[in-house]
Amino acid sequence: MNHLHRELAPIGDAGWQAIEDEIKPRLETHLAARKLVDFDGPLGWAHSATATGRTTSIAGPSPDVTGSQRRVLPLVELRSDFILRRAEVDDAERGATDLDLAGLEEAGRHIALAENTAVFHGYPAGQITGITESTAHGALTLSPDAEHYPTAVAEAVDVLRGAGIGGPYGLALSPGIYTEIVHTAEHGGHLLLDHLRQILGGPLVWAPGVEGGIVLSLRGGDFVLQSGQDISIGYAWHDAETVALYLEESFSFRVLEPDAAVALRSKKKG
């Protein structure tokens, strides 16, 4: 037994399997940051902080002794609660495959959105500085006309190369802009998506939580999401009709090379 207390839930193996089978692929779709930044871990629930290798000078304990203190980045814990109907989960034991697990799906969207937002734009309460807040380069503006996106993306790649940041490069996009790109063909019928992939040498990622777009290097070592506990399902309580569960993870995020990303600003919503 661990702190998730799954053994106390009135859920059989088939029910747990149905829950995990339902949420894992959805999370893999929504967790955009993990498609672009380094993932270190998981290092376990007991892992509490990321070492930065830095110190802060503090007052010495006596006139003859100096003092300094290690600086660490504490991990944040994110938890998204949801409630399922016990009858629905019980039906999994009978072999039902069309279960209504809407609460679970909603919680998955919430925790993925929170992780993406923390990585790309920061989470001040959790002492996380996001990629767009850290970048050393000024933001570029995306033209309202999607056919001009390649110009901005090529310019961003040029900025990164000019700073000595190697590729391949990836592009995180707000869902609205991603969808627009997928639907757009350039003159000659070539898909805009393919053109942008060629410029980047890497993927375009549908990224809920991103505002505009972010071009970043995928060479590794520039952005690190350190995982304590990877996203897990825990048990909270139950009554005769419902069972309350939650999705939970712990992580920190650090930008190690502020030169390795360029933000793309859009005046469009979403």
């Binding site: 661990n2 998730l4 799954r6 053994e7 839930a9 859920i11 059989g12 193996d13 029910g15 747990w16 399997q17 995990e20 949420i23 894992k24 999370l27 893999e28 967790l31 955009a32 993990r34 498609k35 672009l36 380094d38 993932f39 871990g41 998981p42 376990g44 993927p203 375009l204 990622v205 549908w206 995928l218 995982s227 506990q229 990877d230 996203i231 897990s232 399902i233 825990g234």
Partner: protein
């Protein structure tokens, strides 16, 4: 070709699976090398050769450890088992009994992690 040891056609396997195969094959080779060096150390009557072979053997142990760590970071279930059994003392089977008959069996009895990890290379 990634390896002669693939048991399925390479075009049926994704890049991640082939990389895991590469790492597991490499791990087997490193451990086999440890075994061979160990036997040669014991067999030779030349103490200076034994010293060199023992040094080489111990470097293979480092290589094996590094490869195992690569696998652990990408395999949540392997990670779970290593965390359960490594760096412990006492009866190994006792640890299994304490953890449950088989901690890997049954989604309700696991550590609760969905085992998502890194999604680099995952299709958008």
């Amino acid at each position: 070709m990634a390896s002669e040891g693939l048991h399925e056609a390479a075009d049926l396997l994704d890049e991640e699976t082939i990389d895991h195969h590469r790492a597991m094959t490499s791990l087997c080779e490193e451990l086999e090398a440890v075994d061979w060096y160990d036997q040669r150390v014991k067999a030779t009557s030349d103490s200076s050769l034994a010293e060199v072979l023992a040094h080489n053997r111990d470097e293979e142990k480092e290589h094996a450890s590094m490869t195992l760590e690569w696998l652990r970071r990408r395999d949540p279930k392997l990670d779970q088992h290593l965390r359960t059994y490594l760096f412990t003392s006492g009866s190994t089977l006792g640890i299994e009994a304490e953890a449950g008959s088989d901690p890997a069996e049954g989604p309700g009895a696991g550590d609760g992690s969905l085992g998502i990890g890194s999604l680099k290379g995952h299709q958008s």
